[in-house]
């Protein structure tokens, strides 16, 4: 059958990929023996196990009809992940308030229903709320405003 959209086939491939990465990396660590396990022992065993499982899952999908992956819409995921990474890039440079506004603005593109006025208001509310709760009430160590001199 055509495997290009089979859920099980791609799940098997994904597990095989992770197994390959694990085993290649684990080769760099001392294996040791069962009685004196090195740091590579358990990862290597798990990597092998995962590889075998991945193979079985992928192979079995060739024999049986299974569910097909339904339509992928990558736009929401991309903007959400972009928002998360943007937070990581900006938080120690611009501080909490400006970072949150930027993140909300980017993340809003994840939904087609977002309206610009609402997003602006939401960003402002979230920035004020977070400032109050996380910085003033909980006193978490967060940079609040840009630190151009530090």
């Amino acid at each position: 059958m055509n495997v290009s959209r089979s859920k099980d086939f791609w799940a098997g491939i994904m597990f095989l990929g992770f197994a390959a990465v694990a085993m290649v990396a684990a080769r760099g660590y001392t294996l040791g023996s069962a009685g004196r396990m090195g740091p590579g022992y358990f990862p290597m065993v798990l990597g092998l196990l995962l590889g075998v499982l991945g193979l079985i899952i992928a192979a079995r999908s060739l024999l049986t009809a299974d569910n097909r992956i339904d339509g992928l819409k990558l736009q929401p995921l991309l903007f959400l992940v972009a928002g998360v990474c943007l937070f990581g890039l900006l938080i120690e440079r611009l501080g909490l308030v400006l970072t949150l506004i930027a993140v909300v603005a980017v993340a809003a593109f994840a939904s087609r229903e977002s309206r610009s006025v609402e997003v602006a208001a939401l960003a402002a509310v979230l920035a004020v709320f977070s400032l109050a709760i996380f910085v003033y009430v909980l006193r978490l160590p967060l940079l609040v405003w840009p630190n151009f001199f530090g």
Partner: protein, 499 residues
């Protein structure tokens, strides 16, 4: 100390003004995220984990526990009123609960859900107080071989109870174990799977991983579909059910509570499984099974009692063995570790105030929940009018702040971004994330116990079958796997786990 004085000591801890406040905040937030379909207790607990830094360990646990069982109450409200489960564990409540609402009996449905939950919560609290100490006493005798086999058994149980393909669930467990090993190895000092990233030296941050999978990947998945839930315009009416309804439900609530209490303790169990099992059982024993699905009040009472009982008793393996039975319990272990407490049988001896304080708070929390849910149900319904387009940026923002403040490390955000993509792929490929999360938490513990067991036996693997308890755990694990493999039971399992 006997049970009564233990419980009294627990109430002394839970009844301080401060802990009462944290309990209240916990159940309030729990109800809120329970009502809202877009966000669940795992994400909420993960977001609040950094906050618990600032609290005493017992207050932190009281707060986080409140979120979990509070969500079980809130989930039923959404299930009954708009036919969408607010929480996964209230899926079965939609069947009869929403039918009742359509017949104009939304009030009694909400009422019986709260009453059943409250009763179950009280019984489950007693159950934990009675069951946990003997279990911890046994666990104190465990050596590394027993612990390793117990973890194998627990992970196998989690696999058996996961939705969908067993093979894929096992693969997710193994992948979780591998991810858990990333970071500096405590024995050799070697950095494993860090790929040169300084930010991975302490391993993959658990909070970032779980928020990525349960928070952000879920949002992405949800944004693909229809975003707004149907509007809630129907009147709720009188919430207190008629006495005849209550009497009609007593046996169902008792059965649901019993079943939920037992299933909650099992590894892989908890609220979700308990509610499914309770509904199936009610249908089996009812003299009029045809009424189910058409608005039978027992079809609301039993699963709601069961999911609350299961949510609470799932604390037993976490508090006594240090082994999480579901992702929320894995977060609780994370919370304890932040405070430098290694969860396990010693907690009950060395920190009795922690253990009994949390248990006493559960009973108080249940009382607060009845008050929050019955008279104030109208307030919660209004929450459902918040459109998702406003909700998801807020969830995302809080996830980001939570992931950052846990270590004050911006790198954790990139970790979260990476695993959000991974979590989305898993959702698309029908790979259940819960086994991965459990494997992640147990990875380092499993390796350490395997290493120690084999060190003592000088590399002889037979130690796992010559120790009687260890053998028992492994046999149980094998039996579970054999059960799933048997075709007849396989069909039943698929039927039972189907929505």
């Amino acid at each position: 100390m006997d049970l009564a004085s233990n419980i009294a000591a627990g109430f002394a801890v839970a009844l301080t003004a401060q802990n009462l406040l944290y309990c209240f905040v916990g159940v309030l937030l729990g109800t809120m995220v329970g009502v809202l379909p877009g966000i669940g207790p795992v994400t909420t607990v993960a977001m609040l984990l950094p906050i618990s830094f600032a609290l005493a360990p017992v207050s932190a646990l009281i707060l986080l526990a409140g979120i979990y069982y509070g969500a079980q109450y809130g989930g039923s409200t959404t299930a009954i009123l708009i036919n969408i489960p607010g929480e996964a564990s209230s899926v079965v409540t939609t069947i009869d609960g929403h039918q009742m609402a359509r017949q104009g009996r939304a009030g009694p449905a909400l009422g019986i859900a709260a009453i059943g939950s409250f009763f179950a919560g009280c019984v489950a609290t007693l159950f934990i107080s009675a069951a946990a100490p003997p279990l911890a006493a046994i666990a104190l005798e465990f050596g590394p071989a027993e612990y390793f086999s117990l973890m194998v058994c627990g992970l196998v149980a989690a696999v058996v109870l996961a939705h969908g393909s067993v093979l894929k669930a096992i693969a997710m467990v193994v992948l979780g174990l591998l991810l858990g090993l990333a970071g500096t190895d405590v024995n050799s000092g070697i950095r494993r799977f860090t790929f040169g990233f300084q930010g991975l030296a302490d391993g993959i941050e658990f909070v970032a991983l779980s928020m990525a999978i349960y928070g952000i990947a879920e949002i992405a998945y949800k944004l693909e579909g229809k975003q707004d839930w149907a509007d809630v315009s129907q009147a709720i009416g009188r919430v207190w059910p008629a006495w005849s309804d209550i009497i009609h439900c007593v046996p169902a609530i008792l059965r649901g509570t019993g079943l939920g209490s037992i299933l909650g303790v099992l590894p892989g169990g908890g609220a979700l499984l308990a509610s499914f099992a309770a509904y199936t059982l009610e249908k089996k024993v009812a003299r009029t099974p045809r009424a189910f699905g058409k608005g039978d009040i027992r079809g609301v009472a039993a699963p709601e009692a069961a999911n609350n009982a299961g949510a609470q008793t799932s604390f037993v393996p976490m508090l006594t063995l240090g082994i999480p039975s579901n992702p929320t319990m894995a977060m609780m272990i994370g919370a304890l570790m932040i405070h430098g407490i290694a969860p396990g049988p010693r907690v009950m001896i060395e920190r009795p105030e922690l253990f009994w304080g949390v248990i006493a708070s559960m009973w108080l929390g249940n009382l607060m929940l009845v008050i929050l849910n019955l008279p104030l149900v109208g307030v919660w319904v209004r929450l459902l009018r918040i459109p998702y387009r406003l909700l998801f940026p807020a969830i995302l923002a809080f996830c980001c702040i939570g992931a950052y403040v846990i270590n004050s490390n911006a790198f954790d955000l990139f970790v979260m971004g990476f695993f959000a993509v991974f979590g989305y792929v898993c959702l698309k490929l029908d790979c259940e994330p819960a086994p991965l999360i459990l494997g992640f938490v147990l990875g380092p513990m499993m390796e350490e116990n395997l290493r120690r067991a084999l060190l003592i036996s000088r590399g002889d693997f037979s130690v796992f079958v010559t120790e009687p308890l260890s053998l028992a755990f492994l046999v149980a694990a094998l039996l579970l796997l054999a059960l799933v493999a048997a075709p007849a039971i396989r069909a039943k399992r698929e039927e039972a786990l189907q929505e």
